[in-house]
Structure formats: C-alpha cells, structure tokens
Symmetry: D2
Subunit: 342 residues, 4 copies
C-alpha cells in the first residue's frame, strides 16, 4: 500500500503523541513532519520517550515545515491559535483539526462560548463536523474536518439517534459525565498534579462547560428544533476514559433497539445487551465506543451509558478514522487494536 | 473524662478498623472487646498492621465476649447475620449497628429490597435511623441506632431539607453518585482487584441499588407523600469518598439559602458558597460532609452536590457521632480531625 | 499470509486475555480454541468485555478441545497443573508455556524452589528457556518453550550480557525490583484488592521469591560458575510494569557499551543513552524492554535499570515472539505496537 | 493547657497545609499567623478547601506578620530563600525549619550539594539537626531546628543505630528508596501531572540526589569516619509514603535486636518482628516510622526496611514533634492519630 504523507502540527501534546502512536503501525500513513513551536529542535524521543523506537522527523516550528508533498495534516494545536495557523496553510491541503475552532457552524454560537469573534469565518463555513458515524459522506468529501470534543463524542453517539427517531423527550436530557485527566492536556497546572487529582473526585466547569455548545448544535439538528440539555463533567483519577451517564424520558427497549439498529454496521460502536452498562477500562487505548441501555425504575425513564477513550475515539483515533475516509483508505485502517486491559 | 467501655463486633472489616482508628484518640471511649469470627485468636495488628501501636484486646468470637461492663457495642457485621446476632444480645446494651438490617422501618419494604422476611421485627421497630442531623433527639434517647447507607447519607443530607421546605419537585430527583472502593468491604472479589478497578470507571447495580430504599423511606417522610427518585451509583478508582451529583427542579439560590440555614449549627456539614462544588478529597478521613449548589443553565433547575468519606461520615464516624449522643458525650468528641489531603 | 491455527489453554487469566489481544491484530495467527475449565461454556466477551468485538470461539474445557489442526498452543495455566496438562497433549504439538513448570533445567533446583518433585521430567529436559534474545536459535527449533518469569526477564536482559563479558563481579549483584499488580493474576485475594494495594508500596516474598531460581540458573550459565544474587521484589500501585534497579560492581561506561553492542540488532530492546534511566510507563502495553545505565557516585559501581511490561515482554508478548520463531514467522509479527502513554 | 502561639511561614504548600492539619487538633498550639507571599490576601480555605472548617488567620506576606507574641514559627519555604527569611527574623524566636537550608553543618558540604555559598553561616552553626530520636536533648534546648529531608529520615532511623553499634560494614550500604509524589511539592510541573506519574514507576536524580548529603553527614558521625553509601530514589504513583529498602552487610538477628533495643522507648518507631517488612500504607497520615529486618539469602547480608509518611514523620509531623520539645510540651502532643487505612 502506498503510504500517504502526514504532517502533525502540535505534536508535543497528548493528542499529538497519540496520533504518532496510532500512525506508527498504520499501513497507509507515514509521518513526514512534526511541529512543536516551543520544543522545536528536540527529538520526539526526548518529548515522548515511549516513542523512542520510531524513526521520526525532528520537531520543527510550523514555519519550517515544507508542506509540499504532504497529503494530510493533523492539527493538534490549542484553541484560538488554531484558526490563525490553519488560515495560513495552503487551501488545498487536507486537514483534520483536533481543536475546538471549527466545531461550531454558527459564528454567533462560537462567539458566545469562546468569548471572541471567529477569525476564519470562511474556513469555519467549510469545515465538516468530525463525528464519523453521522457525517461519513461529508467527511469523505471534505478538505477540512473539525474533530469533536471528547465529551461531545460520547454524548452524541448515544443521544443523536434517539432524537432523530423521536424516541425521547428533547426537553429532558441530563448528561452526567466523567472523564480521565489526559483530556486536560499536558500543560503544567496545579489542579492536574497527581497529588491533587488522585484519590478524589469532583465536578468542574459546572453549568458552563464548552462542550455543551456541541450538544446544542447537534441535538438541535437531530431534533429539528432547539434542545437545551443539562450537562455536568467530573474528573476521575484515571488517565483515560469517558463515561457518560445519560438520564432520558423514553422507553429503554425502544431506545436499545434503535441504537442497535442505527449502529449495526459501525465498526467502532459496540452496543451492549439491554440491561448492561459499559466500563471505560474496556475501551482503553482503542477506538471503540461502548453503549449501554438500562431501564430506570421510574416508568418511562431510561439510563443510557456511553464509554470511550478520550484520546482515541474522543480525539486522535477519531481523527485518523476521518483521515482514512478523506484519503480514500479503509475507514478502520490502523484502528483495530483491541483495548488494553488491565 | 471517664472512658466508656466499647465493644466492636465485626472488627476485621474496613468499618471495624475505622472505628478502632477513630476511638484510638477518642477521649471518652475505650475498646474492651473486638470480635471477628473467622479471625478469632488473631491480634488486631496482624489483621490491620496500621494499628500495631495500639494496645488492643485480641480478636475473639462473639460468643466469647463478656458484655457485662460494656457500655456500648458497635456492630459492623454483614447484612442479615446482624439481626440474628443483635437478637441474642442483652436488651439493655446500647448498640450502634452499621449494617443495613435496621435501616428500614417498614417490614414489607425490607422484605422487598433484601429478599427475605425480617427476623427481628421487634428490634426493627425499636431502631432509630442514624442520620444524626435529622434524628438527633431520637438518637440521644435510643438504645439501638441503625447507621445509614453511605450513599444514602450523602443524598439525604442534601435533599431532605429541600423536600421539607417544599423547594423542589419531589417527582424530579435524579441522584448520580460515585463512590470509592472501600465501600465494597474487604472481602476478596475479582471485581474489586486493583487491576480491575484502577484506571477505569463504571456504574453498578443500575436501577436496583438497595440504598434507594433509604431514599424512598426518608424522602417520603420529608415530603409527606411517596417519592421515587432515580439513582445511579458508580465506582471510581479511589479508596474513599462519595460524591453525589443531584439534578433537581428548584431555584438554586433558594436551595442554597435553605441548606445554609438548616445546617448552620451542624458541626460536620460544610455548605460551600453558592456556585461552588465540593471534592471528595477535601473530606477524606474526616467526618465532614460538604454540600455545594450550582444553578443549572436550564432555568429553574439546580445541580446539588454532596461529598463525604464513606468510611467516616458514611459509616464509622457517623456511628461514633451517634454513640457520643447515646452516651451523653459531646457529639463531636473524637471526630474533629481535619481531612487528610493530599 | 496463511494464518497459523492457535489454541490458548487457560484463557480466563490476564496473560490469556493478553494473548488474545495481541493475536487479534496478528497477521499470521488465528485463534481456533480457548479453554478455561471453571468458565467453560462462557463467551470470552463475558469474561473479558474489552474483547467483545472479536469473533472468538467459546470457552471450553481442555478435554473438549480438538487439537487436530492446531499449529501451536499457548499454555497459560497455573504452576504445577501445567506439567500434567502438557504431559497429556500430543507430542508433536508446538507449545509455548507461560507457567513456571519448565523454566528450570535442573530437577533438583525445581524441587527445591517449588516444593515437590517434577512430574514430567522428560518434557522438562526437552523445554527451551524462552528468553528470545539469548536462546533464539534453540527456540526456532524447539517444540516446547518455557516462558520466563516476568521479573526474571527484566533482570536477565540487563545482567546476562555483563556476566558473559566479565564486566561485573558475579558475587555483588543486587536486584531491587518493583512490579505492578497484574503479575499476581486475576485470582481474588484480599491482598490484591484496590483498597489494599493503591496508595501504598511494600516488598513481598523477601529473600524467598521463586524468580531467584531463574537468576541462579541463567547467571551461572553466563558466568560459568555459581552466582547468588540478592533480589527483592516490591508491589507498586499500578497495573502493569516492572522496573529493576540493579546495583553492580563494574564500570558504567563499559557496561553501557556492552549492552548497546549486544542488543544492537534486537527489535525489542531499547538501550537508553548513558546516564538515563527508564520509566515503566514508556513501555506499557508494548513488547519493549528499556535498559538504562548510570554511574554510581561510588567509583567502580554502576546502577543498571530495566523496564518492561510484565504482561507483554514479561509474558504474553514474549510468548508470541517465541511462537513467531517456532512457526517460521517474522519474529516481530504482531508485536510492533507502540507503548500506550499516558 | 495554655496554647502556644504559632506562625507558619509558607503555608500554601503541602507541608504548610499538613502543619495546619496537625495543629488543628493539637492541645498545646494555636495558629496566629499564616504567610504565603504569592497568595497573600487569600483565605486558607481557598488555597486548601479541606481546611475550610477551621477558623484561621488570612494568608499574609511575611513582612505583614507581627511576630511579637509568637512563641514558635514553622518555616516551610523553598530552599535558599529560607536562609534569607530566617536571617531577618528576631534572634529570640523559636524556629523549626522544614527546608534544606540548615541541615548540613559543614558549609563546604552545603556549597557542594546546593551549588552556592551559604548566606547565613551563623544560623547554620546554631541549627540543630531535627531527627528527634537522635538529637532529642539538643532539640529541647535549641532555638533553631532544621527538619531532615524526608528520604533522609527514613534511612537514618534505620541505619544510624547500626553504624553506632558497629554491626554493619560502613562501606557496603545501599539505600534503594521509593517516595510518593507529595514530596515534590505543589508547584505545577509537567513531570508531576497525574497523567505523567500514575500507572508508572521510575528513578530520578540517580546518583545525584541531595538527600545523600544528609546520609554522608549523619553516617559519618555515627561511624566515626567517612561513609559513602549508594542511594537511588524512585517515584511511585501514590501521594504519600516512603519505603527504604536497604542492603547491608551484617547479621539480621543482631541488627533486629539492636533496632528493637535502641528504639524501645520511642513513641513513633514501630519495629516489626524479625522477618516482616513494612508497608507505606500502614503509616499513612501518621507520625510513625515502621522498621523491618529480613535476613538475605546471602549469608551475612541483611535487607532492612523503613516506612514513613513523607509529609508527617518526614516533614510536618517531625517538625511538630521537635516543636513540642522546644516548647516544653509532651513530645507526642497532637501526633498520636492512627494511620489512615485504607
């Protein structure tokens, strides 16, 4: 198989390293450039010693990258700076972006949640939302794909089919979610120290988490009218994994049947038998998303669960899944490794 | 201060060890007997080496204990066997029970949730529910106090005042809760191995958790009519700590004001400023319960949080708090140690 | 590529699951039988839900397996029962055994360390010790290969080349080692509960650990005379990973040079630059073993480090590496996945 | 009991918070001032929410503290700045310093290990090394006590008595040690993030760790001649706890007998029965140090273990133990809380 030539912009963070890890055994991709502005000049093995066996290009600044001959760039840069970087890239370069910059289609919604006007409106209009299971054909044809928020991915894969099928009350959606710490990135912050995070549990950004904007956008599209859910994210003392526990008004059996039907052909969605609920550890390191449905003891109510690895299906695995489509590769190429347990 | 003479029946589990830990520096209690049927004959230091510096009686069987001269017995035995053991104890012995056997006042409710008829109905009728903050005077006068479920304690301290004050819709209560592993006890089970539990997160006993019976009982009493909540418990990879995230229909400001008012004089309830949410790590090892109130973005909805240490305020600390009252001691005696962080 | 037909005897433990995980994406192997005596009849997905996406044969008893047409069997059964099971297998079936039963060549040494006479002396004589880097050609020709102890693998890969080269004093070898909990297996034991293991550290089997027998055997072979090392194993609160810290009398520069030379062509040994020491997290989930050499401040002394994943290079990955050789496959087939970090 | 008036300089780090935690229930101390230059103006409850129930003075700068009426100051400031701060304090103020600035008596030794000349030589000459068990009478009379390094405390409590008794070869001491992450402090550093530290194990500062200077100083004093040991520190994924595994040439029985004899009256040293080794989890949150002795399989060699909580016996608990002596209080006041397990 010819290997497509890949650049990773922003390779010194966890999602960047995860892209390298996954591409290392990908039959159709080859890394030709890695950037990290602050660590330019370093070898990847210095920044991520677990990758030391790989023959990788040295980290450079974005300005130093020769993009000629690059088939696709993954962009794993911080929010806000991303839109400026991508604006400066060639307009025919295929891009999968992992930041939040191009997820929201409505500029007003973006400005509301991110606190400033979008500075690349044309690109924003062009970008396709990267939840493969719902935008597969658009992604196949896209030049710029915006990877979803990791929490958003978990909630959307579970709830969107139900809104589309009219099986739940759109006004009664509560998403209670827990995420591991790697979602917060590699930046040094007191609150993410081991001594602060381990052996404890707490909620964060209560009632103000930005991933709600993605729920609003995609739920409204699915329901055909505005939808406002409740959403609370918690931080658990584990590195990887998101579990969404979703409280719905709707019948469990119908909900389960619809999810099983809708995701029947999906290579990465594993719908558990009715009555079972998933564990984050059972998707660790993999591109799978496990869905579980349990009838609440309150009649007409259902508890719906979604589990995925925030760095894989919630970020870098999803990005490669999309890139596979954009490059005409098998959608599952490089992504079928089984989860790592224990 | 004269030290009251204390027996602990069932001292080889985590709640038993926690009672010993707390009583070790309690000015008004002295341990005179420790039982553990399977480990009878052993020194406590063999079973719990962290307690090796204490001069403690050797573990014996219950049959071997001389209860004459014992002022109060803590009973930390498994469910179901507890009712038989306590039935055989002197009727004038003060008892604080940490099992589920005497929590439910209605024998039918007990039979429904625990799968068999109660075998000590007279004692069941006598027992006082051990949530100190709501049953203080009854506990002071009681002979037999039934400690609450650890999860129940978290939910009840947060929600009961709101039902009593009529500030929330009793039909729209969702309690999403996470607990550490020590609540599962010291019995060897595959599912509680470090390799199974660490680095992952999952729900358990979904829609069937027995602590719902306590919510039903106490919420109904507070609301003056039947209340059925939704409740989901999750297991987090940490040893101690419960965080309840509770979704309510009601106004956050009023809810916060009522909780602050109601718990104003409570020595162990710390109500956080409106808009803040608690961490389990900030109550670890202590008898505190932290409550937090945040307005949801959906108007008229509130997200309410309760955090406590399942082995302390959720079990052994609560038991000592109740025993202090029953023995005429200062309610806070032996319980004011600050949380252990990090 | 034709896929060789593989049976896994003892598939319900962690090393069994790890074999399945690795074979799932192996281009030259296909699982045709899985056994687990106590869980016979169950689907693998019930025992290990993380593998639920795989089309796997149902678990059966060993007696039920039709071994005709099986090219190679991995045997991941408990010590002692293994020798009886393998004795009953066809004498032309290729076998990679992961137990301790065939690691020691000297029956007297076996009897000393394992407390009973070996019951399959003929097989013991036939077995090849499975440390690929030192027995590659023997393994290629072998019918029965005995996988090494996980701790032994770490120590041997680091020290054997130095004894062979005469660079260290054989009488002054101290191996201080830490291992994650998965090495203890999936059996339910109080001492391996999350609440017992997490947030703490301790030594175990001090001065009596059975993996010392393997050091004695292989060190003596390398040095050409008896060698008795000191060895202490500790349990760390992590699932995977072994780090050996080895104190030696010898010159760091020469030691580093010899390790670099000796392992230069090895696909799975990564020798770090002189002065650096490895992390277990940088080999997690992979078949790599990282070696590091640092000069002690005491002249003529060296501190040598080896890190590997006990379930991969220490067990199931090593087993597949050996099976690849025995089946005439590329030695690295199915094993080049990069470590999972974080 | 009259409560002595206490100031804590540097209260925003872990050792500062631990001092507050321990003093909160200390019968003879009362906190009257807390400083934290960068967080001056904040309430302690904002910086350490677990302490929110305490009535504490607001954080101020050191310049703002009125030291009149302060009986004793704990100084928990960073190395190097400490010597300047203490130089500016009144010369009659009792001080327990937790930094490294006054641990080394020899200015040349200090300059060698810390890379600059000491800037308060007079204070350095005055300071007493704070290992209570060996300097009790000097500490009772001291004005300025220098708390030991946390790793040093573990090694010294175990080895010094043996050197003094001439039971071991001073030239063959290897201290292999593991510590939890809280010893690294609360400063935000990439390497101490949960995602970097959890689920992994590694050595750090190999052959160059500064706590070796304390071993050199105290071992030489005990042996009556220079002693150079090997010392390797590792980081384990746990918040608290140090375990030193020490390899010695000497007889286990004699070593055990001497440690038992020497520490017989010590309130915080628990010598385990010969052949047992301690766990860090069994001292967590307490001021105990557990010592264990096991005979190596190599004749004449012994493996010696020491476990303590780095934030308590290794820092803040030790500091209070010393302060108790300096203030004429019972040495154990406020320090007898049992370890927190699990």
């Amino acid at each position: 198989m010819t290997r497509h030539r890949i650049a990773i912009l922003g390779a010194s963070g966890y999602t960047g390293a995860e892209l390298v890890r996954l591409i290392a055994t990908h039959p159709g991709m080859k890394i030709v450039a890695l950037t990290a502005d602050r660590k330019a000049g370093a070898a990847m093995a210095e920044v991520f010693p677990h990758l030391r066996h790989l023959a990788l290009p040295r980290l450079v600044t974005i300005a130093e990258v020769d993009l000629k001959g690059v088939d696709l760039a993954f962009c794993a840069l911080p929010h806000a700076t991303t839109q400026e970087v991508i604006s400066a890239l060639p307009r025919d370069l295929k891009i999968v972006d992992l930041s939040a910059d191009f997820r929201l289609r409505d500029p007003a919604l973006y400005a509301h949640w991110y606190g400033h006007e979008h500075r690349a409106l044309e690109l924003q209009a062009e970008a396709v939302y990267g939840l493969t299971e719902f935008y597969r054909e658009e992604i196949r044809a896209a030049r710029l794909v915006a990877g979803t928020g990791c929490n958003a991915a978990a909630g959307l894969l579970a709830v969107v089919p139900l809104l589309e099928a009219g099986l739940i009350d759109p006004d009664e959606i509560i998403i209670d979610l827990v995420t591991g710490v790697s979602g917060a990135g590699r930046g040094a912050r007191e609150g993410m120290l081991h001594a602060e995070v381990s052996e404890g549990f707490h909620a964060y950004n209560v009632a103000s988490h930005r991933h709600m904007a993605e729920f609003d956008q995609e739920f409204a599209k699915a329901a055909g009218r505005p939808v406002t859910c409740s959403f609370t994210a918690h931080l658990a003392p584990q590195n990887r994994g998101i579990l969404a526990t979703i409280y719905l008004e709707g019948e469990a059996a119908a909900i389960h049947a619809e999810l099983a039907r809708r995701h029947a052909g999906e290579p990465f969605i594993r719908v558990l038998p009715l009555g079972e609920s998933p564990h984050t550890r059972h998707v660790r390191g993999s591109n799978f998303c496990d869905l579980g449905v349990v009838a609440d003891r309150r009649p007409g109510r259902t508890i719906l669960f979604a589990a995925l690895d925030n760095l894989v299906k919630g970020a870098s695995g999803q990005a490669i899944q999309n890139a596979n489509l954009m490059l005409g590769l098998d959608e599952t190429a490089g992504l079928m490794a089984a989860p790592l347990f224990p």
